[in-house]
Symmetry: C2
């Protein structure tokens, strides 16, 4: 039987999603590692856990998706609670469903949405310091919205990719890109698309912040799409403000 | 010159307000210690920092008040920024004002308000896990409000004090005690008073939760006030949900 899990986590104490070891060979604390080892305890058999999105160190999720194969004797509706009761309190299984055997968390993902939280204030976020990006400079919402709208569509996003992206094509489709006020003093950048390049959302947000603070005009985005040049886009903004919200499957 | 500071902090990485050392004599990380040593760097002279409220390990504040004496050459309006630029990002000076030489942060405090955040959901608070108390059981807001209102006034609060309170009288005056919905799924208990006993707010909240989940009737509070008995009140609820909101001076 193949199972699909929806997973939420606070990424601040994880070395990202993917299992990995430190230079000395010791395992690092990762979401995949923690969830897989807990699942193995509950199920009583080794398994492979395939996650849809390799979120970086410090990035959060409310809608990460993963799949695994197992023969479970525990009823499906009790599975999330059985796992959660053994998971640490910075990660949670939100849902478990049975899927077809050809379901694949990675290749089946049709669309993903991310949210980036900017704390736009001279005051500090304090308890939210691992959840939002603190921007002291006053950001102009209208300018950011203007720039964000220009990213929607199918474009070559090479300017918005880490140069180590390792992909043969940098053409991607952004289905939604907007900036909304959150709870005061937050601004949220929401980006949805059918696929993303390495660090793409963080570079998009870094660029929108440069526009919002008046460093660039909104049409600078047009130039970045027309003539790919990573050096002319904004910085890769820090990971703590980023959250993977949902992944859509057919 | 005497200065009054208003200080905000996330208490989750502090051993409370008051400077103290571990059993091996090493200094523990405390808010008083971090702010005092930073102030000394900025001002260039040793000083004593007197805080109004000795918040416990894990308790937060947005309106802690402290005073110190110094001869500053730095303009008053630039003092908060000068200190903040050297403070770690889990503590912030919100305001600095000059006060009369007889101002005392402790004895001058006329009223204080605390807020306790309860996360009332089967889902986990994740990023807010050090900021809210997670209560899985469904809480009845009306029952909690009924019980909270009975605490307002001048009463013997011995039932609501840690038995090591060390005070000659346990009579205190609560000026406000109410329960309000916060952002979904939060419930907030707001307690204001002219003075508090050791752990008093946390025991009040622990008692209101017992009423809210149906373990006790709201009038159990009347019995606790009429016949002091710490053992018959609720547990001392965990510190992470508690925040010192403001302190009023004349």
């Amino acid at each position: 039987m193949r199972y699909k899990l929806t997973i939420a986590y606070d990424g601040s104490a994880f070395h990202g999603w993917q299992e990995q070891t430190a230079e000395d060979g010791a395992p690092l604390r990762t979401v995949q590692g923690v969830v897989r080892s807990t699942l193995q305890q509950v199920i009583g058999q080794p398994l492979t856990l395939i996650g849809a999105s390799r979120t970086d160190t410090g990035v959060h999720a409310v809608g990460q998706v993963a799949h695994f194969d197992a023969d479970l004797r525990i009823p499906l509706d009790r599975l999330p609670m059985a796992i959660n009761s053994r998971l640490p309190n910075d990660v949670e299984i939100r849902e478990a469903v049975i899927v077809d055997n050809d379901f694949d968390a990675i290749s089946g993902a049709k669309e993903k949405q991310y949210r980036y939280r900017i704390w736009n204030s001279t005051h500090r976020p304090l308890a939210l310091r691992h959840t939002v990006y603190h921007c002291w400079l006053n950001l102009d919402l209208d300018r950011m919205r203007d720039a964000a709208g220009r990213l929607i569509g199918t474009h070559d996003f090479e300017s918005f990719a880490n140069t180590a992206h390792g992909r043969t094509t940098t053409v991607r489709t952004i289905t939604d890109c907007r900036v909304e006020p959150g709870d005061d003093p937050e601004l949220h950048v929401i980006v949805a698309g059918t696929g993303f390049l390495y660090n793409m959302v963080r570079i998009i947000v870094g660029t929108l912040i440069e526009v919002g603070r008046g460093h660039w005009e909104p049409d600078h985005v047009d130039a970045l799409l027309a003539e790919p040049d990573r050096a002319k886009a904004g910085p890769t903004i820090e990971p703590g403000g980023l959250c993977l919200e949902w992944i859509r499957y057919d």
